[in-house]
Amino acid sequence: MSTDLEQFYEIFFEESSELLADMEACLLRLDVNSPDLEDLNAIFRAAHSIKGGAGTFGFTDMTEMTHMLETLLDRLRKGELEVRSEMVDAFLKAGDVIKAQLDGHRGEGQADPTVAEAICEELKRLSEDTQEAASIVDTKTVFSDTKAKPVSQEIDVGSGVDKVSHENIAAGLSFIIEFSSTDLSSTALENLFSNLKGLGNLENLTPVNVEGRYKLALTTSSSEEDVWETLAFVVDPASLKIEATTIDNTPAKVAEIEILSESIHDTGALAEVDELTCEASSVSGYGFFPGAPAVPKNIEDSETGLDQAQLPNTCSNKNESQVTNKSFGKTNAAASASETSSIRVSIEKVDQMINLVGELVITQAMLAQTASQYDPVLFEKLYSGMSQLERNTRDLQESVMSIRMMPISFVFSRYPRVVRDLAAKLNKRVELRTVGENTELDKGLIEKIADPLTHLVRNSLDHGVEVAEKRMAAGKPAQGTITLRAFHQGGSIVIEVSDDGAGLNRGKILAKAKERGFPVHDAMTDQEVWLLIFEAGFSTADQVTDVSGRGVGMDVVKRNIQSMGGRIDIESTFGSGTRISIRLPLTLAILDGLSVVVGDQMFIVPLNYITESLQPAATDIKTVSGQGRVVQVRGEYLPVIALHEFFNLRPSVTEIHKGILVILEAEGHKAALFVDDLVGQHQVVIKSLESNYRRVQGASGATIMGDGKVALILDAAALVMASQQELV
């Protein structure tokens, strides 16, 4: 049977990306001074899983890299080496390389093999470092558990890693050690063996049929006293015999000690491990353990190379197992095929579903409008049916939308690394705090917010947080803090990047703006001044670093956020910090809007731009020298945007004081939108104008209303900005 492995590539790529992200998170969390074994295990597992998959799917470059990772990690989690920060660095770099290799296999870019090689070398160097290995052995360990009953068990003396680490002790001495183990607990024995292995090459010479007594050969550079000391604390000195011998160049192969316990005997699971079994495996890629449960008879004879006569106990087991198998065959439950708790679905399918639900919402709205013409008393059942339909549609819409929702931790999780690397580069001490990682937002937004947010974090680090000396001089803790916070507010999600750094310098920004020829004046509000940093070609950094300061980026950040229907605000106090908050709609597909009417046209104003709606008095309207009109709202003069003029429509109301003004606020500016009337508040499904029609000035999209008509969704930010330019 041939299987096309390519069909599993995509899932392997995704899985590996997730594993890499987990690995990185664990690495960043790892405290080098007291590493958490669970974390080390998790990192090891991640590398191990990637390696397994890469091997299966034939990505050899990834297999090699993960193998190096795994080797070093294995030594770390076994406590044979101590974790050092250079290792963490190497791991992170290795993670980057694997990521690049992954992208390469995906067909996105090309991994640099020389970088991979360098990291491989480094990992190799780190894992071969044996200095710590010897120091870990604690010869003073005292075992309190010596009274425990002697339990027979298997103790694995051999370990591949030890062979490597002790190759260099060939010049040492060899001791033959004999002692009685009858009054030793299994833990004590295990500890003893691991301590002995720490001293050098340990070989078990105990005959298989002997119980309660061990004979070991130890090749070590330690003195006889050291060996004695290691043993004497654990075993009964009276039974201990240590004999120094000359080295007979015993191969580094380490035998396994196996003591058969009664219980294991019962299951027939254990017989002597024979090198033959292991060798059989390297040829065929698999093998069976002679005497183990359910080993097929013909295989045991032909492939393990073991004489059947040696295993008298196991024959009956085999027969039994065949019988059991048959009975299972008959009673085989109709097991469901795959029972994993989650499934992977392509995003297109989800989007298609969202679209269909969108259509359903529209249809429901149309029906509701038609039904409203009927008498609610006469058509009571129709009305109750309609309200049920409405409720169900809304629930359906919400649950479908929630499929696309992902916790923002997907984005936040990348910043510890960004901060760590950048802080090291800039020689600053910075701690990153994240709050509200579980806040969910649309997958589309998650992908789009990552880059702008990275830029803001880098900017905070570079320009916000000061170097330690400066901070201390200002009476602040030497370590700066950058906080990422996400939370829901109304129908929006707010993401904040705040730092306790130097804050923005109003004078400096204004001076720079003037120098660059920006239209600024000293009476500008702080908010307006701060927003200047998002202007194209603006940078106040005294020195251009390769981190930031070129003035490209912040304007891109603003543009990106606006394209997501979001807005950006800055609060800053000179000397004590800056907070940049991004307010985004929860999803790109649905919008909370206020429908307004001008003439016979309906428009949707995004709710998060509206501060209030009012009917002004005629005296509040002023005309500014033939250029335009302003309205006085609580002492503030706001430019009036007449929507009918903007879209060239014939309104049913021409005098402002007879219509309605909707006050919009965007980017620190306010404007009053003059419309005929307000209709109501809706959740509307956003349809792209660009893909269905063409770009329309002043509109960010369109939606289909309940009566089937198309209504434009107003681009409130653009309208406000246009009104500002007219005034200036």
């Binding site: 049977m1 397994g52 299966t56 396994e256 699971a269 079994t277 890629g285 698999y286 353990f289």
Partner: protein, 121 residues
């Protein structure tokens, strides 16, 4: 009736590959994401063969083996362990825990069917 195989691996891609391969050969497959999951599923289904990874979160393959071998129902069911390289250490541990045999990872679908065919074919 088709024989049921419990495939235990924390890697979804490996799981899918194994499931796809085995189903193509006419086996029923139940997937488990780690030892704990496998143990739960093993106690609710009749399984003819178990294929398990060793290194997994929550409960590793060796612990799973140990626990299963204590159940009368699974005392003599073939359990194959997946080892990433032909590590003698893992093999010895697997054997001690009661494994029937081992399969070296990475493996290709053909080899998987071959070894499974030998045990329950």
């Amino acid at each position: 009736m088709a024989k049921t195989i419990l495939a235990v691996d924390d890697s979804a891609s490996i799981r899918q590959m194994v499931t796809f391969t085995l189903k193509g050969a006419g086996y029923e497959v139940i997937e488990a994401v780690d030892g704990q999951d496998a143990f739960d599923k093993a106690s609710h289904h009749q399984i003819n063969l178990i294929l398990t990874d060793i290194n997994m979160p929550r409960m590793d393959g060796l612990k799973l083996l140990e626990l299963l071998r204590k159940l009368a129902q699974y005392k003599n069911i073939p359990i194959l362990i997946l080892t990433t390289e032909s590590s003698d250490e893992i093999k010895a541990k697997g054997r001690a825990a009661g494994a029937t045999g081992w399969l070296v990872k990475p493996f290709d679908p053909k080899r998987l069917l071959e070894v499974i065919g030998k045990v329950i074919g």
